[in-house]
Symmetry: C2
Subunit: 217 residues, 2 copies
DNA sequence: TCCTGTACCTACTCACGAGTAAGACTACTG
DNA sequence: CAGTAGTCTTACTCGTGAGTAGGTACAGGA
């Protein structure tokens, strides 16, 4: 109880809100929505519970706000990583790298986004579905570029995009349990799987970026 | 309160246990582990709470038992669907069909297995990891058959198997939100994606089973 | 120096849910 | 019909966690 035990007193609202959001993402990602308590979030954030309610509203509002913030951060990271005037395979490659790069550096964000939000019903799933919809649209547009030739592509591209996004999601989940692998390796693995297919891979044909540096990552 | 409001009175223990398990899978799949209450499970099962505790133990024990039962059912469905003396691609195809067939007919089981169990820590994740490990081993063995030719296959096959299993898991999740698609179509889509790859698909090369009936499903 | 607003707290209320105590009802066995 | 084993219930205890009441402390302006 020394007077010097400064808890960074009397900060402006915007700063506190960021601290609270960071704490909330941390706690939600570790415990899940239901098991997380507002008491613990306020403790991690270094403030008291009434502040939390005054600034961010109820537990549900806080969770929804977390999802929106992290979803926005991630989609910006991905679309920022794509170079639009490259060939489709290179665009896909850079998108995958951006995605796994983001997940690698923001594991808590990914936890709260994918594993938590998708298991809670109600408004949360809506936010999530919205983000996934944007990701699928991004990939579908990219695939549609590749398939100008083929005939019945519009719907087919979209469902394949959904499968690819799903594969990315679950490979990211798998990666959470195998954190030793570098991001580039995981991304390259998925790239090869979806671009070449096992049928080619067993013949030794692998995909690689158009030679800047031979090694991955 | 008519005396005729028979709640199927005084059944033997084994029958009650099955009813309770079914109710538990239903409630857990709808609400998740934490939000599900033992009161609701007992109500759905048509018995009172103390019976539930007497027969299946605590909430955590009940949940773990659910996971074990559903995981076993699913793995049996899959390995029962594979014909071991076929070529690797056909084996993979029949495995995928068995998997999506099971999920389609047991949506609640899949919910509780994948979406719920994977987000809860502790003993549940262990059960789940165990099941996934068996699935990955199954697929990895299958892939290893295909790649006798290639050199550095042992570890590579295993990680590709993990990616494939992950892709299947998340495609099944996606399917939960698009229940109108038939199981065979979803399975065929994943089969094409992982066996042919986009690189072939954009050229119009699709994989199909070695002609019994031309149409899928 | 008083005044007002914003940051911030302690200490509650209240509902809900896990788990239990204690016994009642039924069926079978002798 | 008494006894016993197993089925089943009502009616609790008790902890935990969401949300709030009612304040204190500090900062800046008059």
């Amino acid at each position: 109880m020394q007077p010097d035990q400064r808890r960074a007193k009397r900060l402006p609202r915007a700063v506190r809100e960021r601290q609270i959001m960071d704490a909330a993402v941390d706690v939600f990602s570790r415990l899940g929505f239901h098991a997380a308590s507002m008491d613990e979030i306020s403790e991690v954030a270094g403030i008291s519970k009434p502040m939390l309610y005054a600034y961010l509203g109820s537990k549900e509002e806080l969770f929804a706000t977390c999802i929106r913030r992290e979803a926005t951060r991630m989609m910006e990271a991905i679309s920022g990583g794509i170079e639009p005037d490259q060939t489709p395979d290179v665009q896909l490659w850079s998108g995958l790298r951006a995605f796994f790069g983001f997940v690698g550096e923001n594991r808590a964000s990914w936890q709260v986004l994918h594993r938590q939000a998708s298991t809670q019903g109600g408004p949360f799933a809506i936010e999530l579905t919205d983000m996934r919809g944007r990701a699928v649209a991004l990939v579908a547009a990219l695939l549609a570029q590749s398939t100008k030739a083929a005939p019945s592509t519009q719907l087919e591209a979209e469902s394949l995009a959904a499968a690819l996004v799903g594969a990315g999601e679950s490979l990211a989940d798998w990666w959470l349990d195998h954190p030793d692998e570098p991001a580039g390796v995981v991304a390259a693995r998925l790239m090869n799987l979806v671009w070449m297919g096992f049928g080619d891979l067993v013949d030794g044909n692998i995909w690689h970026p158009p030679s800047r540096r031979p090694g991955a990552q």
